[in-house]
């Protein structure tokens, strides 16, 4: 992977956007000769800056009012004092020690404690132009002395000057201030402390007073933009002498715990790809997908309004819980109670899983935060809850009205984080009527592994729900459009009925089923009838056969009788002849005579 280097920092071409996740700024090869770095401890920033700020040099941090310059400085010092054993000095030109401590207390920083522990010095430098009269030559040795004293007192390694513009506002002679600032930066270098100098952003320049000319080693620009009533904070490393760095504009957020810069995890494409499958909770759908979704895969569930997206998503969530896994349900449009109530009507008891601690709802209004805040909150919840499955319902609301590219980038980051953690993600997306089904509002289709489309099937004055798998990477998925029915017992997928005009659904399917049944019955009856008539025929034949047999027997008997009669007659005739002969001649035996006689006749 090559370090991200661009001649036009912050300018993203379409190709660059497509190539997201951005290649990681990896600098390992260069490290040997590179300058030393001082970690800021700010999440994401050190990664972007390849380790941190340049050690022993001053970094200019510029931006408009309220964009987080002071906080960046405070966090740099707090992290230094608490995590890197580097005490720090905060020279505050704008706020008093008390104000500063109060302002950052909400973010979880306890400055008072650090000050008391000798890990931090906060010096409020108050310059009020109306209180100062300039009468003759002067220099800013007082500032040097104060800073030097504070540094020496606690052995500080880090210094923050916030905001240097106050010097220009408080003193009339800008040329002296310029000259003296140059000297300050030189002197800080000599002292070997790592410094952050904050400055207001100018109209067309990075800073109002052209400070970037003096502090030219490293420049960070912070930005706070409002787009469609939602603010997004962005950070960019404009310049970093002697080091490569990420040059993009990175969204960052200020939250409890301070600043965090995103993305920090979407830099690489090296998540593992588990083989095992996760059930969708709908058995026929699992069958269509060769057993379910890939674990850690991203599933897009797209469909028009009212096609049952949330029902499918909730079924998936409940299935995960039933397996004993944890599931995070991010609801951006409905409240958890509403979802629980609605899902009860289709036989899903989500409350049970909420009580069991397996299901957690993360419900936020899409317009409540800016996009990056949404992203960070969601990821923070994922990290804390460690779910096996995440439902985003719907991604079209993720980040409110942010533009498509931003939302897409944010979702890519989110999917990336989830994949890395082997979390199966189900993204619900609304397809607005009129758009083609293959185009989703969030435009995330290319990053999903499995894409299930829920659609309306209109025919014969009815709308019915159909489901098909548009794509599923690494799966020989079904190509059927199935009708799916939401019943009080959950979701059922019905067998496909193909009619002349496509698949049959709803009443048409029912009618077809009835027709089929009638036909089946008819056929059965016919078969019955045939069987009966054959049996009859057999019966008849059987009877006929018996009659013939009888006749045959009679005939045979007749024949026998006649033969017997004949024999008898012959015998009698023979006897009569013998008797006659006997009476006539009375010679020889009776038998021979009869034989001779008999032969003589023939």
């Amino acid at each position: 992977m090559k370090p991200a280097r661009s001649s036009r920092p912050g300018v993203k071409s379409a190709a660059a956007i497509r190539a997201i996740p951005h290649p990681a700024p990896r600098f390992t090869r260069l490290r040997a000769a590179a300058l030393r770095k001082t970690p800021t401890g700010i999440r994401g920033l050190d990664e972007i800056m390849d380790g941190g700020l340049p050690t022993g040099r001053a970094t200019l941090c510029c931006g408009g009012p309220g964009c987080g310059k002071t906080l960046l400085g405070v966090e740099f010092l707090v992290n230094g004092a608490t995590r890197y054993d580097e005490p720090g000095v905060f020279l505050a030109f704008e706020e008093s020690e008390v104000e500063l401590a109060q302002n950052v207390a909400a973010l979880g920083f306890n400055l008072r404690k650090l000050v008391a522990g000798g890990r931090l010095v906060i010096d409020h430098v108050r310059i009020e132009r109306s209180e100062i009269e300039e009468a003759g030559a002067y220099n800013l040795d007082g500032l040097f002395i104060r800073l030097g004293e504070a540094i020496d007192r606690i052995g500080a390694r880090r210094v923050v000057l916030d905001t240097i513009d106050v010097l220009f506002d408080g003193l009339r002679d800008a040329s002296i201030v310029r000259a003296e600032l140059r000297r300050v930066f030189q002197w800080l270098k000599q002292k070997g402390v790592t410094a952050i100098v904050t400055a207001e952003r100018g109209e067309n320049t990075l800073t109002r007073h052209g400070l970037e000319e003096y502090v030219s080693d490293c420049v960070i620009a912070l930005d706070h933009r409002v787009t469609e009533q939602l603010t997004t904070r962005r950070l960019r490393v404009v310049k970093y002498r002697g080091s490569v760095h990420g040059t993009n504009e990175y969204p960052f957020l200020i939250d409890r715990g301070g600043l965090s810069v995103w993305p920090i995890t979407s830099l690489k494409l090296e998540h593992s790809a588990p083989e095992d499958r996760v059930s969708s909770g709908i058995r026929p759908l699992d069958a269509m997908l060769e057993g379910g979704f890939h674990r850690g895969g991203s599933v897009l569930l797209a469909g028009t309004a009212g096609t049952g997206k949330t029902s499918v998503a909730a079924t998936f969530a409940a299935a995960a819980c039933r397996r004993g896994e944890r599931c995070l349900y991010c609801a951006f449009e409905e409240s958890p109670e509403q979802i629980i109530r609605n899902m009860r009507s289709i036989g899903l008891d989500l409350r049970r899983w909420v009580r069991a601690g397996r299901l957690r709802f993360h419900a936020v209004r899409p317009t409540y935060y800016g996009l990056e805040m949404h992203l960070a909150r969601t990821i923070a919840t994922v990290e804390e809850f460690a779910p096996a499955a995440v439902v985003l319902d719907p991604v079209s609301s993720f980040g409110g009205s942010s533009n498509v590219t931003e939302r897409r980038n944010a979702l890519i980051r989110l999917v990336d984080v989830l994949k890395r953690r082997n979390v199966t993600s189900l993204m619900v997306d609304l397809t607005v009527g009129g758009e083609t089904l293959e185009r989703t509002t969030a435009d995330v289709s290319s990053i999903v592994d499995t894409w299930i489309v829920l659609r309306d099937l209109e025919s014969q004055g009815e709308r019915n729900r159909g489901l098909h798998v548009l794509k599923s990477r690494g799966t020989a998925h079904s190509n059927q459009i199935r009708e799916f029915v939401i019943t009080s017992r959950g979701i059922e997928l019905r067998e496909v009925y193909l009619g002349p005009g496509g698949i049959l659904t709803g009443s048409a399917r029912l009618a077809q089923e009835a027709r089929d049944a009638a036909e089946r019955k008819l056929r059965a009856e016919e078969r019955d009838r045939e069987r009966r008539s054959l049996a009859q025929k057999r019966e008849i034949l059987h009877r006929e056969a018996t009659a013939l047999q009888l006749e045959l027997a009679n005939v045979e008997a007749d024949i026998n009788r006649r033969r017997n009669e004949t024999q008898l007659r012959q015998f009698q005739e023979a006897r009569d002849r013998a008797d006659l002969a006997l009476s006539r001649h009375a010679t020889g035996s009776r038998a021979t005579t009869r034989q001779r006689e008999h032969g003589g006749v023939q």
Binding site: G136, Y138, R146, E149
Partner: protein, 108 residues
């Protein structure tokens, strides 16, 4: 802590309504000039009513914080209130007088 400058002219009094403190950093050209100029101005305009304290920040760096010193030399009018600050070597007498709000007093 606060270095009291020897007072050969005996024009300063402890009960002075004008209390001035001059912050310097070592004996630089500006520091020396500022003290010289201050003394001259005080002699001319505040004779007998002032007291000057000189603080060398190189010796007492911590004192810079208390009076919000960033520039050197800085003259601070501790009394009468309100607190006023004049920075520079005090070579511009008119400005010093305006800064100390002496000018109006003198004219009256």
């Amino acid at each position: 802590m606060k270095a009291r400058v020897p007072n050969p002219w005996a024009e300063e009094t402890d009960e002075a309504p004008w209390r001035l403190r001059l912050y310097v950093a070592g004996t630089t050209h500006n520091s020396v000039a500022a003290l010289t100029n201050l003394r001259r101005i005080c002699r001319e305009h505040l004779a007998g009513r002032y007291r000057i304290e000189v603080v060398d920040l190189l010796k007492n760096p911590r004192l810079a914080r208390g009076d919000q010193i960033i520039a050197v030399p800085t003259l601070v009018r501790k009394l009468p209130p309100p607190l006023r600050r004049i920075i520079g070597d005090l070579s511009h007498t008119e400005r010093v007088l305006v800064g100390l709000e002496v000018r109006t007093e003198v004219r009256a």
